[in-house]
């Protein structure tokens, strides 16, 4: 009896706290979701309260829209590369900063100057995406005034009459953007992984050292398994960033809402915005939004399932 009563009392108690946030969530998150689903079946122009119901037409058109499918492919590419590169780099740096130093008398510590590195690596994270876009706009600038071009011309690797048009090269543009995201993200995940590493008891490392494990072995056999929770969450978060990419693509590349040259850097969000705000096809854009939502949901479920492992308690 008592068990049921306490559990019931607990439910009421928790519910009491949840009413307000839940109401807000329903109004500002769930309700727009439902509306979006609704609009995705209409030919709404986005500038008027009147529209007609057109069934699944938006979705069938979407499946034939080469620009959208190309954008989807780019998102998938980013989805693979953004988390992989960012996490690998961040893990490497975090390990070096925390446990990569030569073992001295004090046991495990980071490489020399690790406190300084930690701060420096975090710098990019404090910049907003809009500033990043301006900054890297200057790096990738397509004439000799650009940082990269200026450097390469100085070295004699690039002909000043034909500088590399980084963001106007179909084969380079996506990778240039990828680099910006990775540069921006590594610092944050480095700090995240550092924090996780610091919570790993030193004696585990010392035990590993005593057993004669080198840096690589320590990392693979000790650090990584103990950090798996953080890596998993990071992967989901970075995956979501890769599905978005709107700010960087729309500000750094050519075309209305970016995506150029000739759709080679297009991501779903830019196609969505162009259709929503520029072409007056808001119903169609809502269908894209729904597709994005479904894909992101699948992504997160798959990531969390695939990376589920036995937890090591410590």
């Amino acid at each position: 009896m008592s068990q049921v009563a306490t559990s019931r009392g607990r439910v009421g108690f928790i519910a009491g706290f949840l009413v307000l946030p839940l109401a807000l969530y329903l109004t500002f998150v769930i309700w727009p979701y439902i509306q979006t689903f609704g609009y995705s079946f209409t030919n709404w122009s986005g500038q008027s309260p009147t529209f007609g119901f057109i069934g699944l037409d938006n979705y069938t058109a979407l499946m034939k829209d080469e620009v959208f499918l190309g954008a989807l492919w780019h998102n998938l590419l980013l989805l693979v590369f953004v988390p992989t590169l960012t996490i690998l780099l961040a893990l490497f740096f975090a390990f070096m900063v925390n446990a990569g130093g030569r073992s001295g008398a004090g046991g495990v510590r980071g490489v020399r100057g690790s406190a300084f590195y930690k701060i420096v690596y975090f710098f990019p994270q404090v910049l907003s995406l809009a500033i990043l876009a301006v900054l890297f706009g200057a790096v990738y600038r397509s004439d000799e005034g650009g940082l990269l071009n200026g450097f390469l011309i100085g070295l004699g690797l690039v002909d000043p009459a034909h500088p590399v048009e980084w963001l106007n090269e179909p084969n380079l543009v996506l990778w240039c953007l990828l680099l910006v995201v990775v540069w921006h993200g590594v610092g944050f995940y480095l700090v995240l992984f550092s924090a996780a590493m610091q919570s790993v008891p030193k004696d585990i490392y010392e035990a590993a050292l005593l057993d004669g494990a080198g840096r690589a072995q320590t990392f693979v056999k000790v650090t990584l398994p103990l950090l798996w929770d953080s890596v998993q969450t990071s992967a989901v978060y970075l995956g979501i960033a890769a599905m978005d990419m709107f700010v960087l693509v729309s500000t750094m590349t050519s075309g209305s809402f970016g995506g150029g040259p000739d759709h080679h850097s297009e991501v779903m969000a830019t196609v969505l915005m162009r259709n929503f705000l520029y072409f007056g096809k808001s119903g169609y854009a809502c269908a894209m939004g729904v597709v994005m939502l479904v894909l992101t949901m699948i992504l997160s479920v798959v990531t969390l399932r695939a990376t589920r492992r036995e937890r090591i308690e410590f």
Binding site: Q35, Q47, D143, G145, E165, G255, H263, S282, L293, T296
Partner: protein, 475 residues
């Protein structure tokens, strides 16, 4: 309590819900953008005064007027000056908003049925006029055209405007947008640079290429363009087509004809001419990837001989232009056997002012537009924004113009009736974008002129399939 029997550990639960939250938040920012406000419910009954000859729309004294203007190259001081004048005459209280984010500020208001009374719908974030018109959000401005002019009540407003103004503001057969600023389009060069180097302004495309070559020999670029925005190079391509093929070629494109580009010799010649600049390596190095400010500033630093633009260029580059630069306008040079003369230029009204159909003070909005077309307000604009308006002879001769604007006025005079203007960018946003994408590829040497023609025609054919295309037609 304990770890036994619980399917989901507490930490797991927190972690997963956090992960879910992470997904929902960024996706949401897009999805919630889709959500419109409530339906258009109450239609406000604005106070109306009696309609008289002096007050053709029945503006109520002492009402409110809500004005939103794009605060771009022209600033928004001119609008403040107008509002002050309007308030003085009608005893109204006007509210002013100058912004770059027209869509951001106004989309919800249009959807919610509470738009402002007058809007200057311009800039990169304008709400596309074709979209607004299709949604029935724009008031018919024909009554303004037929109202008596403030300067001379015996004349209708319609007769005080530069030819083409009305045509430019048509959407689906209705006059809904007053494009207020009169702009000429073409190439620009520095009079100082040309004098120094002993070059003469070219009249034919061959002479143009020749100057570009000389520029290259002198260590600078021939043609600069605003590569990140292919809109600008399209000015050159489209002007060449219109001049070579005549007005018929231009109308064929606006009217989405099946042979607008494909099989049109003038179009192919024009695209090939532009491509020659690329092939002969006469572009300013790197120009394909530069923004408009970057390339225009490079041009101001004498790094290229020519740049395409509209006559807002001088105002836009005011700070970057050296004092002795002597900015000069040049009509796009002629190809052999062109139907239009060299002096012919693309000229047209831009900066569309609209009155929303559901404006609370629609009468006030219409009266405001009528006042804009008076000589007094037109002069105010010229003083504040350093540009011309669509009012015929609308500027006091006292206003002294800068060299670039002066050269544009001279070119306009020389052109006489030989002005033309494309309407498709206002009518068909998607087609315009697709042609721009093709031009971007052409300038980067990734496609050939024939492929450009194919893609441009495909864009035209796609636009022609839109059922709304039937409402737009020019003769």
């Amino acid at each position: 309590m304990g770890s036994t029997g619980e399917g989901l550990g507490r930490r797991d639960l927190i972690k997963r819900s956090a992960a879910l939250g992470l997904i929902t938040v960024p996706t949401m920012s897009f999805l919630s953008a889709c959500a419109s406000g409530g339906e258009d419910g109450s239609t406000k009954g604005p106070d109306k005064a009696a309609v008289t000859k002096e007050n053709p729309f029945g503006v109520a004294k002492g009402g409110k007027l809500d004005v939103v203007v794009f605060k771009g190259g022209f600033g928004d001081d001119y609008a403040k000056a107008w509002e002050a004048a309007f308030d003085k005459k009608w005893g109204t209280t006007s509210s002013h908003l100058g912004t770059q984010e027209i869509t951001g500020k106004l989309q919800t208001r249009f959807n919610g049925g509470t738009p402002p009374d007058v809007v200057d719908d311009s800039g990169a974030q304008k709400i596309k006029l074709d979209v607004l018109a299709k949604a029935g959000q724009l008031a018919d401005l024909a009554p303004v055209l037929d109202a008596p002019s403030l300067d001379d009540p015996s004349k209708k407003v319609r007769d005080t405007l530069i030819a083409g103004t009305v045509e430019q503001g048509m959407q689906g057969g209705k006059f809904v947008a007053l494009n207020y600023v009169y702009t000429v389009f073409g190439l620009w060069y520095s009079g100082k640079l040309f004098k120094e180097k002993g070059w003469t302004a070219p009249k034919t495309w061959d002479e143009f290429l020749d100057v570009c070559k000389k520029a290259k020999d002198a260590g600078l670029g021939g043609l600069a363009h605003q590569g990140k925005y292919p809109y600008y190079i399209n000015v050159v391509i489209m002007d060449l087509i219109a001049k070579k093929g005549g007005l018929e070629a231009m109308k064929a494109i606006d009217n989405l004809e099946p042979n607008a580009f494909e099989g049109n010799a003038a179009a192919l010649a024009a695209v090939e001419a532009v491509y020659e600049v690329v092939e002969k390596d006469l572009l300013m190095p790197g120009t394909n990837g530069l923004t408009h400010t970057e390339s225009q500033t490079a041009w101001n630093q004498y790094k290229a001989a020519f740049i395409p633009s509209g006559s807002w260029l001088e105002n836009e580059q005011l700070k970057q232009t050296p004092d002795d630069f002597d900015m000069q306008f040049l009509p796009v040079p002629l190809l052999a056997d062109s139907k239009l003369p060299f002096e012919a230029i693309r000229a047209g009204a831009g900066e569309p002012f609209i009155v929303p159909e559901k404006a609370a003070n629609k009468a006030g909005g219409l009266e405001f537009v009528r006042s804009m077309l008076s000589r007094e307000w037109s002069t105010l604009f010229a003083q504040q924004a350093n540009s011309l308006t669509v009012v015929k002879d609308g500027v006091d001769p006292k206003v002294k113009l800068r060299p670039g604007t002066q050269s544009a006025v001279t070119a306009l005079k020389a052109a006489g009736d030989n002005t033309f203007n494309y309407l498709y960018p206002d009518w068909y946003s998607a087609m315009d974008t697709e042609i721009q994408d093709a031009s971007n590829e052409l300038m980067a040497k990734r496609i050939q002129p024939k492929e450009w023609i194919k893609r441009a025609q495909a864009a035209v054919d796609k636009a022609a399939k839109d059922p709304n295309a039937k409402n737009n037609h020019r003769s």
